[in-house]
Symmetry: C2
Subunit: 200 residues, 2 copies
DNA sequence: ATAGTTTTCCATCATTTGATGGAAACACCT
DNA sequence: AGGTGTTTCCATCAAATGATGGAAAACTAT
């Protein structure tokens, strides 16, 4: 039951954000009484925190998978596959992207001391892109580049419904277009620019 | 008074989102009674809508300025200046980026039929970047590229506080790093790649 | 079957939130 | 000064929201 609640909470928090989500919405979606929700998860903020940690763990694992897959390939191939894999993965779990973006800038009306192993994820991202050999020592500029890449993916995933109508595309076209656009932007920067400086 | 309320609402909605913002928060920040707020602006949703239209109008005007400034320059210079100008502009008005990103994916618990001249903004963006000569006819792939560029800026602006602590930078360093990162990513793509195909 | 533990629900509470009616205060014009 | 229109506030409401106590139901072990 605890897991079922977490799964539903994940989706709804991902769509509506913290304040837009009511505990009754979650309880109703699961099909339980609201006090059952409180019994299992305590306060709303506790549940939200658990959800955020959950998606971050998912992200971490997926990045590990990406790393395994691209290991040993040429740089441009690595970037291509990384973008493909991350994009596919996140399109199936849009709440990850939504919650990640919410975390960046959406304030809540109460203090929420959420602490993350975000640097760890940054190291994984850079490593899976093959930009650094040491996951543990990331210069700030490398971190920013990784952020820009990851956020570009998150944006297209999160904004799918909005952009679909805006661009007058169907879902297949959109996903295809997203991948092409990301590669268009990312590969030249790292392959023509980054490869010569980062490998020094 | 109406304008003062709009200005404050803009900031608070930008920080807390629609549901995270209460009408009392806005009234208090302005220094008025809550019924004064309702007297001038009606329902909360109406105020939110006005705020969103307001920031979009600001964006449109700034893009017009960018266009005027970069007209006639070489492509790489155009992109560089466009990125600089947009970045500076948005860093002074983070609510624009926040509200834009909220608009992409944050659902609200009630229907909100907001309609925008977003395609018009898209045309301006592409034109200010010098990627198309006709603002009115944008192929979808060009739109997606524009989106990726604009969203990359929005993300760094919106996520400033979050990323500052994450990257252990001060504000000056951060802004400088953002610009460098954006140029690193964007210029190679459009100058080496885009110039030969888009100008055909 | 019984006893003990865990889970679920009903009924409810305190507080918060969006919103309003009517009166007072203010501004403007003659 | 008086009249009219506008703005602001006080007091309040209905509904929504986060949350809970206690009892019933369900589960588990012997």
């Amino acid at each position: 039951m605890k897991g079922r609640i977490l799964e539903v909470a994940r989706r709804i928090f991902g769509q509506y954000g913290f304040h837009g989500t009511t505990t009754r919405m979650i309880a109703q979606e699961v099909g339980i009484d609201i006090s059952t929700l409180y019994y299992h998860w305590g306060e709303k903020g506790d549940l939200y925190e658990a959800v955020v940690l959950d998606i971050y763990e998912d992200l971490r694992e997926q990045l590990f998978e990406v790393e395994k897959r691209i290991h040993g390939l040429p740089l441009d191939k690595r970037m291509e596959i990384a973008v493909e894999m991350m994009t596919d993965y996140l399109f199936e779990r849009p709440e990850i992207s939504n919650l990640t973006l919410f975390r960046y800038f959406a304030k809540t009306r109460h203090a929420s001391p959420l602490d993350f192993r975000v640097p760890e994820i940054m190291g994984n991202i850079a490593h899976s892109m093959g930009l650094v050999s040491d996951k543990k020592q990331l210069p700030p500029d490398a971190k920013m580049k990784m952020l820009a890449v990851m956020n570009a993916i998150h944006n297209f995933v999160s904004g799918q419904n909005f952009f679909l109508t805006m661009l007058d595309m169907d879902e297949k076209e959109y996903v295809k277009g997203v991948k092409e656009t990301l590669k268009f932007l990312i590969i030249p920067a790292f392959v023509h620019n980054g490869a010569t400086t980062k490998r020094a």
